[in-house]
Amino acid sequence: MNILIPHNWLLEYLETEASPAEIQKYLSLSGPAVERIYQVGGESVYDIEITTNRVDSMNIYGIARETAVILSQAGIKTVLKPLNIIDKNSLQLTKELPMPKVFNNPTLNKRTIFIILKNVNRAPTPKWMARRLAQTNMNIHDSAIDITNYVTHEIGHPIHAFDYDKLMSIGGEIHITEAKKGEKLTTLDGEYLETVGGEVVFKNIDNQIIDLPSIKGTKNTSIDQSTQNILLLAESIRADKVRFASMTHAIRTTAAGLMEKGVDPHLAQPTLLRAVELYQDICKAQIGSQVYDDFSDDSIPKPVNINLQKIDDYLGLEINVKKIIKFLNSLECKVEIKGGGRTTQLIVQPPTFRPDLAIPADIIEEIARIYGYHNLPSLLMDTPIPTTYPQDINFNFENKIKNFLSNIGWQEVYTYSMLSDEIAQQSGYKLDQHLKLQNPLTDDRVYLRRSLLPSLEEIIASNPHKKSLSIFELANVYQPLDEGKLPQEQMLLGLVSTADYRIVRGSLESLLDRLFVPSYDIVPSKQPQQQFNQSAEITAKDQSGKTRVIGAIGVLTSGRIGAEIALADLLKIIRTHPTYRPIPKTMPIIEDLTFSLPKGIAVGEVINSIKQMDQLITKVELKNIYQQNYSFAIQYHHLKKNLTAADVEPLRKNIVRQIEKQHQAKLVGEV
């Protein structure tokens, strides 16, 4: 949470030689971050980010206390001035006006403190106060209202001004209780609400809600223009209850923002008394009652035991014990020492406003930050390097795939894991075969995908300026499993291209070659797989010689060529290096043969037939296609001796005979 702290207001409690820039610098290094300094009306205003565990710093005095400690350690002379609140005993308390009766539930509320002020003059807010409120982005009303906001910002405990007469006229009782479902209330600014049940509310004797404590007042008891007598009240509702009601009804007031973080109930009295002082000064108010104070739970944080050695362990160096005690004392922690040397035990009693100091590491944080993180050396670890690596993941190999594909012309993309219902179904999986977000942010990101290809298709479609485009992605898909199990996250390599089949297939094959996959095949499926019009399985032999399907390639419904490969399966068949085959000393003979093949023929099968005819046929490549004429370059090779034309002739004749017979082909030219 960010709060605004005007420099001049801060100086009410701080005697320092530091400039605003120095305050920003040192506070940011050792305390809350001063994100900006605004100039408002010629004065500096700090915009400070305070973490949720430090509600004690969300006010002027809290920041003054932090600043004093931090600047002193930084060598800039700084003194924290006392709050200087009027003594409760010096107030002229009376029993003139009857006090409302309070019925508390101590499990919901730790403290209720109030006082009645009469004859409150509705004076305009004085200029000095208005300026400070404006500097902190607060609205200006009149002094009777603004004083409550002013003291809350100064000391940190929200207080509320009730219209005393209204409160008394509807029963004069305050029942602190949990609302049931469906109870009605109207807030002081006229908003109508119905409770959901469980909000802590104030009720009157007739079970009517008369306040939403620590969040917002209700219309039936809050001050208006005619108000003359005020009941000034501070309560301490359980933080989680405040948070629940504030979040449920989306009423995010300053009071709620503070109280939901656990404001120290001890601050209620000084805040109230400071307000009384201001009402007396500005509004010429008179005290009309005693101070009612029911402090049912004034427990203090538990002391924390910490060994000096532990502090050394975290900081990596020894800090003098006197210095440590000085730091802690300046943060208002009491310190008791047991033992000596580095085994000394410190028993640290945090102040009531620091319930966040609960374990030794919390105390270490205080010592370390005041000492200054920037004063600690910077070192690399000299401890052993772990060598137990995760199984089934090979990041190097993923990088190799990415780099190889991009080098041969493919563009890598990253697409969202969540899809719209329409795109999700393009995978061929039904919607109920997907995991669904309970609270999607946008309609296009609802289902966790089962395939990468629909996302890649979307990218190609969204880049119409690219006439030819080949893209790929390595990402997870998510297969729902039985109830109580996380989905199976499967890393896939997806490819989609506008190029023709032979180019996509060739890219894929050269990738497999690069990964030293010893043997692979592409086998057309009888039935096309999901999302393909026509598809083939990509198969390969694993280490044990078993043929496994690692993915699919084919024509997508868009007509583009797509392929998808499961990385885990690919991982099982890749190698880090090839098996070297001695370079042959003999020369191969390469001849071209052209066949006229019937329409609808599977050329792959013709090539396989030729390859299988003789061991001496070592390579068959499709060289050219012209209409129905297919030219093959056929390589004959004997590793021990050079083949002659006479050796090759019978082989060639056999090829022609067999292919003509098996595939209804016709040789173009003569044997």
Partner: protein, 353 residues
């Protein structure tokens, strides 16, 4: 010219001789050379005709040798011809534009991740990857954030529409890579040393110029005996200098996270103004105050170590986690002002990387 082609060795000798002869020929009359060697009645043709005298089984090899010789001589004579006709050394236009091969690009996030991985691997970190869809237990509860803890609000969590599991709680999209902390302790059977770098997709329910619903984080976790804040600083400095260049500094400032204590915010010095916030007399335009805030860090909270089965009295550790995109976009001169571009799939953007 001796033309003994009765055997392969003899043929090879003939070829060598012919080459030597060509080498010593005067190179002035190219036409003559052409006729003499490659013409109808030239040496090569003569040799070709004599192939019929070679034993049948040697003919293919012999033929190939002669072909090579013919191509070789043809090439040399053509070069001579060119040189003479132009009368000047062969020149090409060096201002001609190059023809680039059609290369693709890895995605900038992949490039960043690869670089980050190498930087941490150099100092002994093991890269891991953990589920993107995980249980509340790993994402929040084991990280010292019990159910309904207000700190959870900061994470803008996406929930999966499945029944809650009894012990593990709700199924969520990981809001940070910190789910890897307890998972890594479990993977190593609660036995340090741990030096993990976990890089993964993360998801948060927010979208604007600096946030996308999906993004990447990298998470460091180091646990062992004697690990202290100085080691965190050392690791951050190492990263800063390797990723942003020599001279880049890191600093840690107090902050609050539930799963670390003490907790820090991590800044890197601006490489434009070197941490001064000033460029000449004016303010540095690239940073706010000389420093860039990149992410969070801290000493692992004892409750997190306990959740991972590690004794916090014996071991200490630190952790840090930042967005890959944020860290990457701070690189000098990169100038990406809208993070949504990274996942737009716009080739006009991607092709620049």
């Amino acid at each position: 010219m001796v033309q003994n082609t009765k055997s392969l060795p003899a043929l090879k000798k003939t070829i060598t001789d012919l080459k030597q002869q060509f080498d010593i020929e005067p190179k002035t009359d190219v036409e003559n050379l052409q006729n003499k060697y490659l013409g109808k009645r030239g040496f090569i043709n003569d040799l070709m005709k004599s192939l019929k005298d070679v034993p049948r089984e040697m003919r293919p090899v012999a033929g190939q040798l002669l072909n090579e010789l013919k191509e070789n001589l043809d090439h040399q004579i053509k070069l001579l011809g060119k040189g003479l006709s132009e009368k000047t050394p062969n020149k090409i236009d060096l201002t001609l534009p190059g023809l680039k091969p059609n290369a693709g690009h890895t995605h900038p996030v992949s490039q960043a991740i690869e670089e980050i991985t190498h930087i941490f691997e150099k100092i002994g970190f093991t890269r891991v990857r953990y589920p993107e869809v995980d249980w509340d237990y790993y994402v929040f509860e084991s990280l010292n954030m019990p159910l309904d803890h207000p700190a959870r609000d900061e994470w803008e969590t996406f929930f999966i529409e499945v029944p809650e599991a009894e012990k593990m709680g709700k199924m969520v999209l990981t809001t940070h890579t910190s789910n890897g902390q307890v998972r890594e302790m479990e993977r190593l059977n609660s036995k340090p040393p741990i030096r993990m770098i976990n890089i993964a997709r993360c998801y948060r329910r927010q979208q604007d110029a600096t946030h996308t619903q999906m993004f990447h984080q990298f998470e460091g976790l180091v646990v062992d005996k004697g690990i202290n804040i100085q080691h965190l600083k050392g690791t951050l400095d190492h990263f800063a200098q390797q990723f942003y260049g020599p001279g880049t500094k890191s600093r840690i400032r107090p902050f609050h996270f539930q799963f670390t204590e003490p907790s820090f915010e991590v800044d890197f010095s601006c490489h434009i103004c070197h941490g001064t916030g000033k460029k000449g007399r004016s303010k540095c335009k690239f940073c706010k105050s000389g420093w860039h805030e990149v992410g969070g860090a801290g000493m692992v909270h004892p409750n997190v170590l306990k959740a991972g089965g590690i004794d916090p009295d014996e071991y200490t550790g630190f952790a840090f986690g930042w967005g890959v995109e944020r860290t990457y976009t701070l690189k000098e001169g990169l100038n990406i002002d809208d993070i949504r571009l990274i996942y737009s799939g716009d080739l006009k953007f991607l092709e620049q990387f």
